[in-house]
């Protein structure tokens, strides 16, 4: 390794390297320094913390809805408030929690797992975070000024169009989507570049941790899916609303169904964008806690890739009731059912791993077990929904509400909570309280099933979605009361989770670098990782480098430590190619985000602001890319 890199020094003085790295990777102090941070651990953690705060907001909205529906003919929330709240709930959970939190985990963990120092484009990374934050605050500014969107998180025209969508409510929603899709595209771009080009030497494609495979596939899905929602929400809906185009107006030759197709071409892959990283987390938890390599690695990778491809081919199952030709419907039924094959293979592989491993019964493993229970149930009702005759009955009823909460909470939130407990020592340097973690699990597990299982029955008994109240003679009262009771248990679980995280962060037992004796490279870094992750970036000689004997492990020497330098390696076999200096921290991503936001938000009031946005963003980019003097750049 070292011969290829023309090392500046062969006798590695680790301490001197360390202090040099500390200096060059240090973040500036003060507010300006805080806004200028571009290190992936800090940005990743900001994503995660922000997303959890939005989860809390979305949870409060869910609780308000549950309280409103707890009894028939309730008047706690008005129809208008309820509609704003359920729309904001869905929007928050999809755009402001689920996708960003997975991205945050990716931004934090991927460079560590790959054995590099940062993501490929650190400034883009920071910019993406600020766009996400502004978009989220924008939506909540709308909600608190009675401009919260009220047409559902899917915003079907004509209801969301200029004729029926009153005020600026829909515009706030559509432009919030723009912010989050820019953010998601930023993360996707930099993660693809990082995973393909910045892996530790010899980390060939078939040695990448499954979580990184998940993030890679997810990032490609983002790149193909997000432009679709941009066309739906920003191009069709916003221009219909702001400058009077007629994309969705049937009276002028437009078509409301066109919007649905384009929206769901994004909307369905979105589910897998959330779910695929979670699968990677499960693999990490399972291999660590069964003390064995994951069974069927190639099958796992191929399943994830296949899921991504199939995921783009079944958007129409959200539209079975719109009256499509039968031949097309049969295709989409088949495609929807195929997802069960790829998911099934992964579940079988995990079960095989657990069957022959030695299970360590940690809090994270509890969440994985919960995932199996809930996700499999949700997946099976998904197979029911793929059957068109059944879908036509239960579509847009609480049966579907139950189904996708089983899939998304079971398939993404439980693994995420598991992952959070699993990587908490890496994030903070301290162990999370395992006992409280297990109590959290049981509260969430019981609360979840109590909340969402009755919804299956409510849907079968005819309870449609998105209704703010229902008459008592429908007989939906008891089921709803039960669901609300379950939601309160989830709330207690959530509070316990937050308290546990805050407490353990301060008073937890010191973790050390690798408390679980895991095999992947993120556990080779300090806990919490230094800004540069590794003094000597590791090389890789197997899928589980830390499970190989100590004397066989190799470090990369020869990277300059007096600037933010990383190793670029080849795509297939991760052969070291060349050294590459990453840009220093900068305030300009933040400034550019603010300037773009001014234009984007202005444009929902007047189209002219798009021009302003272009000019302002250009100013930001000038600062961003302003060349530094050589000496300064290397300082």
């Amino acid at each position: 390794m070292s011969t290829m890199l023309e090392p500046t020094t062969r006798t590695t003085d680790v301490d001197r390297e360390r202090s040099s790295l500390e200096r060059v990777w240090a973040n500036e102090s003060g507010l300006r320094g805080w806004l200028s941070v571009t290190t992936h651990q800090a940005v990743g953690m900001r994503y995660i913390v922000t997303a959890f705060i939005f989860l809390l907001a979305g949870g409060v909205e869910a609780l308000l809805m549950r309280l409103q529906l707890a009894v028939p003919d309730n008047t706690l929330l008005s129809a208008d408030k309820y509609n704003q709240i359920f729309t904001t709930h869905g929007t928050t959970m999809m755009f402001l929690f689920a996708v960003p939190v997975m991205e945050g985990m990716g931004v934090y963990l991927v460079p560590l797992m790959l054995g590099t120092r940062n993501v490929a484009f650190p400034r883009l990374n920071a910019f993406g975070y600020w766009m996400y934050l502004i978009g989220g605050l924008f939506l909540y500014w709308g909600l608190f000024t009675n401009t919260g969107p009220d047409v559902g998180w899917f915003a079907y025209p004509p209801l969301s169009g200029p004729q029926f969508g009153i005020g600026k409510r829909v515009d706030v929603w559509a432009q919030m989507v723009t912010f989050t899709e820019i953010s998601a595209l930023c993360v996707a771009t930099e993660l693809i570049a990082t995973i393909l080009k910045m892996r530790a030497p010899n980390m060939t494609l078939n040695r990448i941790p499954l979580f990184c495979w998940g993030m890679l596939v997810q990032s490609f899905m983002v790149i193909f899916a997000m432009p679709s929602v941009m066309i739906a929400s920003t191009v069709m809906l916003l221009t219909d609303r702001t400058i009077g185009t007629h994309f969705t107006n049937p009276a002028e030759g437009g078509d409301p169904l066109l919007y649905q197709h384009v929206f769901w071409f994004f909307g369905h892959p979105e589910v897998y964008i959330i779910f695929i990283p979670a699968l990677g987390m499960i693999s990490s938890i399972v291999d660590t806690n069964t003390r064995r390599t994951i069974f069927g690695y190639p099958a796992m990778v191929l399943s994830v890739v296949a899921t991504a491809f199939i995921g783009f081919g079944l958007w129409v199952h959200h539209m079975f009731a719109t009256g499509l030709p039968q031949i097309g419907e049969a295709y989409f039924t088949a495609a929807s059912m195929m997802i069960a094959i790829t998911s099934g293979i992964q579940i079988f592989c995990w079960l095989a791993t657990m069957w022959t491993g030695r299970i360590r019964w940690t809090a994270a493993m509890h969440f994985v077990a919960g995932f199996f229970f809930i996700f499999v149930a949700g997946g099976l009702t998904g197979v029911m929904l793929a059957a068109i005759p059944l879908d036509l009955q239960v579509h847009d009823t609480f049966f579907v509400v139950a189904h996708f909460h089983y899939v998304l909470i079971g398939g993404a939130l439980f693994p995420l909570f598991g992952g959070f407990h699993h990587w908490f020592p890496k994030f903070t340097g301290r162990m999370i309280d395992e006992r409280l973690g297990k109590v959290t699990f049981w509260l969430l597990f019981i609360g979840f099933n109590l909340t969402f299982f009755p919804m299956h029955l409510l849907g079968l008994k005819g309870m449609t979605r998105r209704i703010y109240t229902y008459p008592s003679e429908m007989g939906w009262g008891p089921g709803n009361a039960l669901a609300t009771a379950g939601a309160l248990i989830i709330l207690i679980g959530g509070i316990l989770f937050i308290m546990n995280a805050l407490k353990s962060r301060k008073y937890g037992v010191e973790a050390g670098a690798n408390p679980w004796d895991s095999g992947t490279l993120e556990w080779a870094a300090d806990s919490p990782p230094r800004n540069y992750n590794f003094v000597l970036p590791p090389a890789c000689n197997s899928r589980y480098p830390l499970w190989t004997p100590l004397k066989e492990r190799i470090g990369v020497t020869g990277l300059r430590t007096d600037r933010r330098e990383v190793l670029v390696s080849s795509v297939m076999d991760a052969e070291p190619n060349h050294r590459y200096p990453l840009p220093h921290s900068s305030i300009w991503p933040f400034v550019t985000a603010i300037l773009s936001a001014v234009g984007l938000i202005g444009s929902i009031f007047s189209f002219q602001w798009y021009y302003v946005a272009c000019v302002l963003a250009t100013i930001g980019l000038l600062g961003w890319f302003w060349p530094r003097r050589k000496a300064e750049a290397e300082a």
Binding site: Y156, P158, D255, W355, P478
Partner: protein, 354 residues
Amino acid sequence: MKGEVSFSRGYPSLTFGALIGAASVLLAGCATHHQSVVDAAGPQAGRIEGLFWFFTYLLAAIFLIVIVMLLGTLLRGHRGIEQEPLEGVHAPSTATERKLHRNVLAATIVTVLILIGLLVSSVSTGKALSSMGARKDGMAVEVIGNQWWWYARYRSDIADRTLTTANEIHIPVGRPVMIRGTSNDVIHSFWVPNLNGKIDFIPSRVNTQWIVADRPGRFRGQCAEFCGIQHAHMALWVIAEPPDQFEAWMNAQLKPATTPADPDLLHGQQVFLNHACVFCHTIAGTTAQGSAGPDLTHIGSRSTIAAGTLPNTKGNLGGWIVDPQNIKPGNHMATVDLSPNDLQSLLDYLESLK
């Protein structure tokens, strides 16, 4: 009750304790089945219900197997793998791996076969549904979704046998009825689960669906696509009657309103015709020919008002006319200022429109 039986029959998989409790509490509150997927009143819904139970039993069994396997992995501890040197190499012997490989492959093949079976049963049911009902003696009802009520029209080749009504669709038992639906404003979805699945009503498009009732009864439906602030209050009733009763109803509905002889009713009619009511509502046989709101020619014969929101009583109707925004906030009905006397006469008149 039939529905209750089928509920408890359908969930043998609920061995997990908490959920049994959940389900039984729910079933205790299960008083009505007039909007239920699992209480079919016609061949279409019956066929779907059969498919539903087939899927439910099969998938519940699969769920149980997976959970048993999961519990097996969690509870077996080290049994059977003591000899494997996991800690050193972090992998079992190749013999074990080969065995796992065979099992995973077998499970995958079984999954594929089951899914093929489910696909075939689903597609064949879909095919059967699409041809079911298309019979010579079938009749058509045009239904148009509006924010937040349903317009219905029975067309006939004979000009004066075309009738218009709202929110209540009467159909003869045993005779297929084609619902031809579209929308006047936003997307709605027509759903009467006891009879068939749902079908979206989309502006500028016409979607069709066949329904047949094989027993008399009142079946509730509800808009299933979110359509704005009062989406929750957009119900309708399908009333299936024996053919002779249906004919009688039809003949009654075809009659226009007559000028009442009773002075109170006459005054009520004048109140109606001299206020804003006429801009939106039609009463056939009078000058009121508005079309933005439901046809009121036979309002007195309907069982509910405001699209299934309230029972059609004089008190409810009075409350609705005095302050529609209180009962259904955001709906498009204007508030009309009426003196108590005028209101009384108006209510008497409307209730007389049988």
